[in-house]
């Protein structure tokens, strides 16, 4: 199963928590909002940690095949 990473730019406050928590997986766009470096990823603990640590809950992880949300709590 692959995950699809989505960042809601309307919520993002540019804290960079995700960039620091999951190195190489997120970057700032020209509006200083976070966006995933690659939208699709294999399941990854650091990406999950980034979603859980986001101060404005702007990061959503979904199953790329079904569109179902990935449960964040282990």
């Amino acid at each position: 199963m692959n995950w699809r990473i989505t960042v809601d730019a309307g919520l993002c406050i540019s804290s960079g928590v995700c960039l620091g928590t999951a190195p190489g997986r997120f970057r700032f766009d020209e509006d200083e909002h976070s966006s995933p470096v690659s939208e699709l990823t294999e399941p990854d603990d650091q990406v999950r940690d980034a979603a859980l640590s986001c101060p404005v809950e702007a990061i959503t992880l979904t199953d790329a095949a079904t569109g179902e949300p990935v449960p964040l709590d282990e």
């Binding site: 960079g16 928590v17 928590t21 101060p55 809950e57």
Partner: protein, 405 residues
């Protein structure tokens, strides 16, 4: 050890305009975004003042917080109290704890607290209105608000506020404050929190401590020492910082009367103004040394090569005035919030309480500007006194008055 006189001593002397980076820091910024400085113990460090370079230090895993606490490396000031804390870890170890407490500080939870915080602001302003003028805004409002909010979060009586004031005063001390003094306050706080945790274990509430106790006891996700440490950090990080952000923002607005008038006439600008003030205002005191990072490997930063194992200091309050990142960085414009700023740091250690601090500042200014007509300082900027060498620029008092309605 020979001391190279070409290397500037840091921290720099107090800035004559307290909310400004100050002349020495400005000179340093103008030279290069990364400069070598000498610390009080004669060791050297790399002071980073450019916006993009400072953000890189905050975010990039090659700059380690954990290595600051490596055995044998000397620690100073507030760093002496941070061993074992959330801010002494690197991801992924850091993430295990951070993601638990992050759930208690999300936007949604903070918004749910807004009515209670607005109520605290109203009560404090009622007290000001009932008391004499001039009043000391710092002690009667700015320090009371975050301390009261921390009591609310911890589920402790508001009467414990005085204890919090004393402890955070001692811990946010300068490098000259003895380790014994800092250690004593820290030990008292630790004992207080241990007793509080025992009480909340017996009688859980819906407060933050009870949430954390549950994470410890039911889920086994926290250690007992992590549980005790966490509320201490909440107090250390959330009290003087927020209080002096309110004070210094008000002082900066007072020095920009047209912006203050604009905000009074357009209170809907308050959230934008708070972001601009967070960028513009320096609350770091003359004794402040930014929480250090140590390079894991040789890095190239702002065109400067830094070897592995060196101390790097991200000077976010300088970076927030970097002309390369902000068109007109020294202009305060309450209607033009920055896209991003570094007042809360960035990356894995981005201030956990950022959303709470923002909301407190918004509610504080809503109350102060809408309920205290013509609120103003009664002394000029040059007569403001600060406690010496503090990490946070702590005012002895901030005398203000207002008009009869």
């Amino acid at each position: 050890m020979s001391v190279d006189p070409e290397i500037a001593r840091f921290p720099f002397p107090a800035s004559p305009v307290p909310y400004d980076p100050g002349p020495e820091l400005r000179d340093t910024m103008a030279k290069c975004p990364v400069n070598k400085v000498r610390l009080p113990d004669d060791s050297t460090a790399w002071l980073v003042t450019g916006f993009s370079e400072t953000r890189e230090v905050f975010i990039d895993a090659r700059y380690s917080r954990a290595l600051v606490f490596a055995p044998g490396r000397p620690l100073y000031g507030v760093e002496t109290t941070l061993r074992g804390s959330l801010t002494s870890m690197d991801p992924p170890e850091h993430s295990r704890f951070r993601k638990l407490v992050a759930r208690a500080f999300t936007d949604k939870r903070i918004e749910a607290l807004r009515p209670s915080v607005a109520g605290i602001v109203d009560d404090l302003i009622d007290n000001l209105l009932a008391g004499p003028r001039p009043a000391d805004l710092s002690h009667e409002f700015s320090l009371m608000l975050p301390a009261s909010v921390i009591c609310l979060l911890l589920g402790v009586p508001i009467t414990d506020v005085d204890k919090f004031h004393a402890w955070s005063n001692a811990i946010f001390a300068d490098w000259s404050r003895s380790q014994e003094e800092i250690g004593q306050a820290f030990a008292e706080m630790t004992a207080y929190m241990a007793a509080l945790i025992a009480r909340k274990r017996a009688e859980p509430g819906d407060d933050l401590i009870s949430v954390l106790i549950n994470a410890r006891d039911a889920d086994g996700k926290l250690s007992e020492s992590e549980l005790v440490q966490f509320p201490l950090q909440l107090l250390a990080a959330g009290h003087e910082t927020t209080a002096n952000s309110i004070n210094m923002s008000f002082v900066a607005l007072s020095e920009h009367p047209e912006e203050l008038a604009r905000l009074r006439a357009n209170p809907e600008l308050i959230p934008a103004a708070v972001e601009e003030l967070l960028r513009y205002v320096r609350i770091a005191g003359s004794g402040f040394v930014p929480l250090a990072r140590v390079t894991r490997e040789e890095v190239c930063l702002g065109g400067v090569t830094i070897p592995a194992g060196e101390t790097v200091l991200p000077a976010f309050f300088a970076a927030n005035r970097d002309p390369a990142a902000f068109g007109d960085p020294d202009r305060l414009d309450v209607g033009n919030p920055p896209k991003a700023h570094l007042a809360f740091g960035a990356g894995a250690h981005h201030c956990l309480g950022a959303q709470l601090a923002r909301m407190e500042l918004q509610e504080a200014f809503r109350g102060l500007l809408t309920r205290l007509s013509g609120l103003r300082m009664t002394i000029p900027l040059s007569e403001l006194e600060f406690r010496d060498g503090q990490a946070i620029a702590s005012m002895r008092e901030l005398p203000v008055t207002w008009d009869d309605v």
